[in-house]
Symmetry: C2
Subunit: 338 residues, 2 copies
């Protein structure tokens, strides 16, 4: 019971986000209303900047996870809607600040807020959304949920600084890379998932299961994202292939190709990522090297590894439509890059 | 009883921050320890950047206010130390982000963090400190204190955006200017003062008294700060006279001088603040105009007005060393500019 039968009609090992979308549709309607209302301000520039990013077509995976994780344990109040909105605001604030830090011009194929309104507005509207996120969490009144989300806010910033410190350093190890994505990406997925059982007053075991699910899903998600930046079917994401290359970001495909390469090739990487020789010709050469050393497929293989851990984290839980939907999201995240 | 007699030996109408410093010395020792420990991170750059700002000799007025406001109502726990540290971290995060937004090179006579470590580090370490601030607040466990501080975080960011939107607009009215400083400066003073009675479980009336004290002290503080930027005995603050002028900031001295001036003078202001004709010669001319129209002394007069409201806010409270010290701070803030 509780198994969504229609799933079997799809290419199930490709996964799908659709069951999660369907399950959370009603609650997500309320999240979207709350997003609009809490991004509002008499200070005109705030909703302008916020809505630019909010309307840019992100999948809203994180708030859907919070909603499903609360419902999964029978939650009936409206706190999950506020927490899901908080999670999305934290994510939006991070994106606004990231664009300033990375000096990005485009996000999902559109001009970034900082290109239209300036770095200043991006920094400050990010701060505003973070403040609004905390207000909503306080409103829910769960100190445990507050603790989890506030802790993730610190960890995310720590991860971003780590990434900044490692920037353009090709000697970065896979472990160091993992520590960065664990903090900058996986911590929020983990918190988004864990606050569900928290407000549903589920058991400690259930909390740990959802936290582990979120953390490992987040790792898989970021690994695939980093692979997609060098190819794959990136178009439907609105991502610009090659962004990471042009910004000199040290992601796993680079780490693996660099370490596996010849000393001559390592010189190429240094020129490309440390010294900014990152034109399209060099991007193509980089992709060629990645293929030669199997770096993209191995990056996806790493993602599958974490996806498996996420799957096992949920395994002991009772069957439910939410559980099935969350499991399907793992495959969806990984299959984006086939 | 409770009156600090030694006060009468000083130039009492100049005020002094010394009684507050003396009263909170023990607790501030614990705040300073907590600042160092919570600004710590395995990510090297974080304590480096944070300590640069933390060690730069700010007065730490806000955390002292929180400590005194808690002790005033008999608080005996250690939550006030954590809240005071949170308040200082919120302030530090704001400064880090402000320097990026204002593109400032110097703060209190030293290079800003963004000049040494870059805008990126300033944005991200600010985010980290904000996250740490919220973690500490959650740790204290008072949802009411959390609400007050989270609300102030949103309001501060809103005020900064307001200021950004009003930037270089000489038609800004005094009311609009007041709305900006109420949000960007006074909101944190207000929250810093109000959380004292909150964790001390004082009455609603006491909370309102301290909130009003903080708000009006904050307004007076910012007004005097803005006057100091055009002169006064600014050296002991390590402030660069003329910073606001060079950044084209529309502060009250400018608003008053612009509105009271001739149309020719208004053209001068437009050239200076809107079109960047802000060399030292023009700064001297600006100061001259301010003196001619009494704009600096009227700005300080406005500060006295709010100082009076802050004083009356505390008037009904029982005598205590804390009350005396907080009253003395009002005069201290205003007398900085004599």
């Amino acid at each position: 019971m509780g198994v969504v039968v229609s799933l079997d009609e799809k290419k199930s090992n490709d996964g799908s986000v659709q069951p999660l979308v369907d399950l959370t549709r009603g609650d997500m309607g309320r999240v979207n209303e709350l997003i609009l209302s809490k991004a509002g301000s008499d200070v005109e520039m705030i909703p302008e900047v916020a809505n630019h990013l909010i309307s840019s077509g992100g999948k809203r995976l994180r708030p859907m996870i919070t909603l499903a994780a609360a419902r999964m344990f029978g939650y009936q109040g409206d706190g999950h809607v506020k927490l899901a909105t908080s999670v999305e605001f934290m994510h939006t604030a991070t994106l606004l600040h990231d664009d300033v830090v990375d000096e990005s011009d485009l996000r999902r194929g559109r001009s970034t807020a900082r290109m239209i309104w300036g770095n200043q507005a991006s920094v400050l509207v990010g701060d505003f959304l973070l403040g609004q996120a905390f207000k909503m969490m306080v409103d829910v009144g769960s100190l445990e949920a507050l603790d989890v989300l506030a802790t993730s806010a610190s960890i995310i910033a720590e991860g971003e600084v780590m990434q900044l410190a490692a920037a353009k350093n090709l000697e970065t190890t896979e472990d160091e890379y993992l520590a960065v994505i664990k903090a900058k990406t996986a911590a929020l997925f983990s918190a988004a998932a864990e606050v569900g059982p928290i407000i549903a007053a589920a058991s400690r075991t259930d909390r740990q299961a959802l936290r582990s699910y979120g953390l490992n899903l987040g790792l898989a998600f970021q690994l695939v994202d980093d692979a997609l930046d060098y190819g794959g079917n990136a178009k439907d994401l609105g991502k610009n292939t090659g962004d990471d290359f042009r910004e000199g970001k040290i992601t796993l495909p680079v780490v693996l190709t660099y370490r596996r390469g010849t000393s001559e090739e390592r010189l190429f990487w240094k020129e490309a990522l440390e010294n900014g020789q990152n034109d399209d010709k060099n991007l193509e050469k980089a992709k060629g090297l990645m293929t030669r050393y199997g770096a993209l497929s191995d990056t996806v293989q790493r993602a599958r590894h974490f996806g498996g851990i996420a799957r096992d984290a949920l395994a002991p839980l009772d069957a439910s439509p939410q559980k099935d939907a969350l499991l399907d999201v793992i495959d969806f995240c990984i299959s984006r890059v086939n």
